[in-house]
């Protein structure tokens, strides 16, 4: 965590990690007091809790990680109207690839889920699309040269 890095989050994603942070702080307090949190006996355990139960230092490191995210978070907001024709973070981009239509939402790594069409802005395709407009042909070259034709850009306010 030595390099300073911005964490781009939607407001929904930001709320989610604020909640996690609060839960972890409560858990740390209980652990320091030597109490067994009731939540561990629940069947609906949040994965975070279980991973940290054996290891207070790891719990501390996750709390520190979240604090680091809070310090460097930047909420994704739709750009001004005149810039809404350019692909930026938070944009939903309609593309044509290999003769097929697809749609991606360009989002930060913390919230990316390619199976649901949410592509990280740090992936090669996410990075390549940023800054382009409708009508542009974006070339992504791995060993395979793939052309993404931008058909549509939209932002949800």
């Amino acid at each position: 965590m030595s390099e300073i890095k911005k964490f781009y989050l939607t407001s929904e994603g930001f709320e989610k990690i604020k909640k996690e942070y609060k839960n972890l702080k409560d858990l740390r307090l209980l652990k320091i007091r030597g109490e067994v949190p009731k939540i561990w006996q629940s069947e609906d355990l949040n994965p975070e809790y279980l991973s940290f139960r054996e290891d207070l230092s790891f719990l501390e490191s996750r709390i520190a990680e979240l604090e680091y995210i809070f310090k460097n978070v930047e909420l994704i907001k739709p750009p001004s109207k005149e810039k809404q024709n350019i692909v930026n973070l938070g944009a939903t981009v309609g593309v044509e690839v290999e003769g097929q239509r697809d749609e991606f939402k360009i989002i930060g790594p913390l919230e990316a889920n390619p199976s649901l069409g949410k592509i990280s802005n740090e992936s090669p395709v996410g990075r390549a699309l940023l800054g382009h407009r409708v009508g542009d042909e974006v070339i992504v070259s791995s060993p395979v040269k793939t052309i993404y034709k931008i058909k549509k850009i939209r932002y949800l306010s």
Binding site: N46, P47, S51, L110, P114, N121, V144
Partner: protein
């Protein structure tokens, strides 16, 4: 102890279950789910060290990520699209499948539900702490809740790319393009992106 033994006997089935993606592509004597899991755990460990991740957690997560396939099918992204005529399959595999957003969400949820039920059935009689740990590691992996979850999910795809490149290099019986196209959309971890460049160099550049 008996319940752990029963669990291990069931998990042993993954040593025989062939990965469906290769079966569909007629790869001779393809890897099993356990083969993929083994190398994925190794890859998570070796590359995860460089990301200063919780190695204990990512190795366990890799080991359990496909356990549900003891009972559930090995689902591929092409399943919903395969034409009845098998002669058309080869052409279909040349492209990475593209689906509308709603269809993506539907497939994601259906797969999640099926695999979750299969996992629950498999771990049902394990001692509660182990059961909970496996369940929570799987949820973290599936949803990418933590750095480790997001990393292992990407390692899964990179291990698959490595295997695809090895089969492709050997027999060239399928097109490799769709693997590269998907990987450029799925992976954003800097260490894995660096590793992918090494794969490119090893398998494509003379």
């Amino acid at each position: 102890m008996k319940n752990i033994l029963d669990f291990l006997i069931k998990v042993g089935k993954l040593k025989e279950k062939k990965r469906r993606g290769w079966v569909l592509r007629n790869v001779k004597n393809p890897e099993t789910i356990a083969d993929h899991t083994f190398r994925m755990a190794m890859m998570s460990w070796l590359l995860g060290e460089q990301r200063k991740l919780n190695i204990n957690k990512i190795i366990k997560m890799s080991l359990i990520h496909d356990l549900c396939e003891v009972y559930s099918e090995d689902i591929t992204p092409y399943d919903k699209l395969l034409p009845k005529d098998k002669r058309q399959w080869k052409e279909m595999f040349n492209k990475w499948p593209r689906l509308p957003k709603k269809e993506k969400e539907k497939i994601f949820l259906e797969k999640y539900k099926k695999e979750n039920e299969a996992l629950e059935k498999l771990i049902l009689k394990l001692p509660p702490p182990l059961k909970k740990e496996i369940r929570n590691l799987w949820i973290d992996y599936e949803e990418g809740l933590t750095r480790e979850g997001r990393f292992v999910r990407q390692v899964d795809r990179v291990e698959n790319l490595l295997q695809a490149l090895q089969y492709w290099k050997k027999g060239k019986q399928f097109a490799i393009e769709s693997w590269w196209i998907q990987i450029e959309e799925l992976v954003d971890d800097p260490i894995l992106l660096e590793f992918i460049k090494v794969l490119d160099k090893k398998f494509h550049q003379k």
